[in-house]
Symmetry: C2
Subunit: 273 residues, 2 copies
């Protein structure tokens, strides 16, 4: 196989399995080339991935060494994503009343969730997480993309204990958005104890829902090591969870004048850390 | 940019935006090369994609011409997917009683849903669909992958009319699996009338749920032009919908002897059509 085809084949494989570690041997055998030639191919593939602004190739030294593709978004791509999302969110036809906005089209737009997924994967790459966890329904597509990018299993917390989930653990929690007690439930066989989880959700107001997920995971001695949300409301400024990373902020909804304000300064700071 | 980097860059862009049509000009400008050189790069990228068994590059002639990546699975990759899925599904620890199996881990395994998504995208590529539609919850990850692969919006039908969906249309339908009347609901603003939809779901027994989705879409004069399910039960042999494409079949569950039989002969036939 010629060099330009090998680089293409390598990129195809890596983009299809983000965060998966490959050994040099995997590709030396596949391409029937020496390790020195493969190293050159990997260097070129790494340059392409970096220049496209979608992450980096990481090489791991030693006997169990190899390489893998770690997705992330370049500052430029993140800026585009945040501008696009903030602009779409500000469309006044989204106003439903009672401080609610229609966002299902955004949360099920696969190009948007894919970009957000790459962003969170890059920010959370070093947290040594075992699971991506979300609570149904609107964050599932985003959480699935993060799980794909980080090569981790996705666990979906259900609102009600479903028969098809087998035996479950359930909790009640207070949802500020709905101003009432809500339930969530997780299949016992969905998680193993003493692991580390990242929570991903579509929207956060007071953080009650994310705190609920943290509590239900603590029943399994699972520690929450990171939390990412597509859209975080600025108000209330005091959240029920201490640390979270939003893609953008929802600043205000003025129902009378039909003005929605969204911004993303703090998310940009997170990118520059 | 050197040729091997150009091919890599082209593949990166195409795999990140499946089914999106690009003009030659897009890349002639980006790479600062003539159309003849780009045509050579596209030919090499097309060879790589075909050899990797993940689809093909399609060129569109004429003034509005260009090219795009159409995902699909090679027979070989489909066979691997079906064997893997059937083998995992046959694990007797999945038996929950009452003819139910635990499948959430499979339906939220992003590598599995990604492969299934590529399979459906290839099979349904010529249906001129406008939407991918699923009903919450377990099919969302799969449906989102199909939507990504086909570059189409995903519409998620909810079990209950949620306030955050705005005004909705709801129907009642009979679920054979749960042996009772269930409800489903769709946001009025989620779809435009007189369009074409593909339904994707995780599991089908009698087809009541898919028939329900067909009915609720008919309220918007939306025609269902295709249906794909990850797992279809062989029984009952008479389904409530006439046409569907499964990845694998669930043949039988023997709770006493703890034996689950899964197979995939008809799905293979579909691949050979």
């Amino acid at each position: 196989m010629k060099k330009n085809k090998r680089v293409g084949s390598l990129i195809t494989e890596l983009l299809s399995h983000p965060s998966k570690q490959y050994s040099y041997k995997d590709f030396c055998t596949k391409f029937d080339i020496a390790k020195s030639s493969l190293s050159e191919d990997i260097a070129i593939a790494g340059e392409v991935i970096a220049e496209e602004g979608i992450g980096k190739l990481e090489t791991i030294q030693g006997a169990n060494g190899g390489f893998r593709y770690i997705p992330s978004l370049s500052s430029n791509k993140l800026d585009n994503l945040q501008r696009t999302l903030a602009s779409k969110l500000s469309d006044p036809s989204r106003i439903l009343g009672g401080n609610f906005l229609y966002t299902s089209d955004l949360m099920f737009d696969s190009q948007l969730t894919r970009s957000m997924g790459a962003y969170f994967a890059g920010e959370f790459a070093n947290l040594k997480a075992d699971y991506i966890v979300t609570v149904e329904t609107k964050g599932i597509s985003l959480a699935a993309d993060v799980a794909f990018m980080m090569n981790l299993p996705l666990v979906v917390v259900r609102r009600e204990a479903k028969y098809s989930e087998g035996s479950t653990v359930s909790i009640n929690y207070f949802s500020g958005s709905y101003d009432r007690i809500q339930k969530m439930s997780i299949a016992k066989r969905a998680v193993a104890p003493n692991k580390r989880a990242i929570i991903i959700d579509d929207f956060m107001r007071g953080g009650g829902s994310l705190k609920g997920v943290t509590e239900i995971l603590s029943e399994f001695d699972i520690e929450v090591v990171g939390a990412g949300v597509a859209i975080a409301s600025r108000e209330p400024s005091k959240k029920k969870i201490s640390s979270y990373l939003p893609v953008i902020y929802l600043d205000s909804i003025d129902e009378e004048s039909k003005v929605i304000v969204a911004s993303f300064d703090r998310a940009k700071n997170a990118d520059n850390k």
